[in-house]
Symmetry: C2
């Protein structure tokens, strides 16, 4: 795993240099269909990261947001979201991040969230404790139903399940909205108890299970099943199994 | 105004030292009714800032979140929110901030947003260009109806006006949720075109008009009237007057 960690560090450094170059520039053009700063940054980062893997690990597969999939010859698959949280990037707030996941078949081996403005790197490795930069972190073990803090990027995550949103708001101590991948990082260090989202693409969630599980949290779909690279994209991370069971109960009642 | 700016710098530095001391600590206690880290930080910051004004400007008034109002003897009133965005502070993301507003009667003279983790200071002074740290900033002058980016802290801001939210979502290129005072800073440098919120307390908005207007934006209530220290708390900031007129039209149709 040390080799993989070293490669991931190299990838996040490369991504950070590019993201910082385009962050808070060109506010007059913004649509993803044009060549906006975020599109340019997205493509440049994915190109750079693909290149690093191609050179260091030519047999490994690669799945990115922009340029499609390179099949794996050895069962290992790198999954990259060059800029998760494009709206935050476009509007200039540091909650976006570069996501890197490494999977062996259906098993997550490693995951990284890198926020290049605050220079925070969450790193989760199978059978190791998750770190935020140099510090080991843990989810909130004492989290219980009376004071659950929930994070979700947008109420549109619940457009097909408005009753679930109401039920969650009733259970919650509070909701924080917005936040993109940063929310999962906050869950991993105990700041939130639940992050719940729907309709995610593979590259949106592939980095997260290693990070959250290595901090003693749970990462699953809305039925409690382990994520794979082919999951539907309804994603639920919780501080511990007790909270997970409570939230899945609510989902079952209101979906 | 140079004296006021110097005092404000002193206040933000004092606030930052305290906020950083309690940020991401004590995740197991969080309710504002207990002595949680955020409550302690809130009180300590307000105490420190009140003390600075008391010593430097004993005739000026002071309105804080925690300790009530000291009347002004000369028409000048400092309005402070020690930690705007307590949920973000509690859950560990750097979008909270210390807000400092200085008013002369119903006229905003100066405003500051200070984010102590990213160390960003927005400073707006009457008849001067707004700055973010050392840089002059401007709202998005070219913003038009086809691609309005809207920020708001939570959908609960629209709990009494769900139709307005739907209409805004229809008009918007996108919404970013969450963000607290940081959203107004993003509007001031051109990252967002509209920030709309409701039910704010005086200390939530008093710092903002100077910042946004000094960057060429508009700051008003939902009817387009200038804010005073006694406004209702329905607050609308826009990149320019054209966008403001469009949003007020929508408000009129859907409130």
């Amino acid at each position: 795993m040390e080799e993989f960690k070293k490669i991931t560090m190299e990838m996040t450094q490369a991504a950070g240099i590019i993201a910082r170059k385009y962050y808070r520039t060109g506010f007059d053009i913004d649509h993803k269909s044009d060549l906006s700063p975020v599109t340019i940054a997205d493509r440049e980062i994915e190109h750079a990261l693909r290149d690093i893997i191609e050179k260091a690990r030519p047999e490994d597969g690669f799945l990115g947001e922009e340029h499609g999939t390179k099949a794996s010859k050895n069962g290992l698959m790198w999954v990259v979201d060059p800029i998760d949280g494009t709206k935050s990037f476009i509007s200039g707030r540091p909650s976006f991040g570069t996501l890197i996941g490494l999977w062996e078949g259906d098993t997550p081996l490693m995951g990284a969230i890198y926020q290049p403005i605050t220079e925070e790197l969450w790193l989760g490795v199978k059978n190791q404790e998750t770190t935020l930069n140099t510090r080991n972190i843990k989810t909130n073990a004492s989290s219980d139903k009376q004071k659950i803090r929930i994070g979700s990027t947008s109420p549109s995550q619940f457009k097909h399940t408005p009753e679930l949103l109401s039920a969650l708001q009733e259970e919650a101590d509070f909701f924080v909205w917005g936040g993109d991948c940063y929310l999962y990082g906050m869950l991993a260090f105990g700041g939130l108890d639940v992050v719940i989202e729907s309709g995610l693409a593979t590259y949106d969630y592939a980095a997260i299970p290693s990070i959250v599980m290595g901090a003693n949290g749970t990462a699953s779909d809305w039925n409690g099943n382990a994520m794979t690279l082919n999951s539907e994209g309804d994603f639920l991370c919780c501080a511990n199994e007790k909270v997970q069971a409570q939230i899945i109960d609510l989902i079952d009642q209101h979906k």
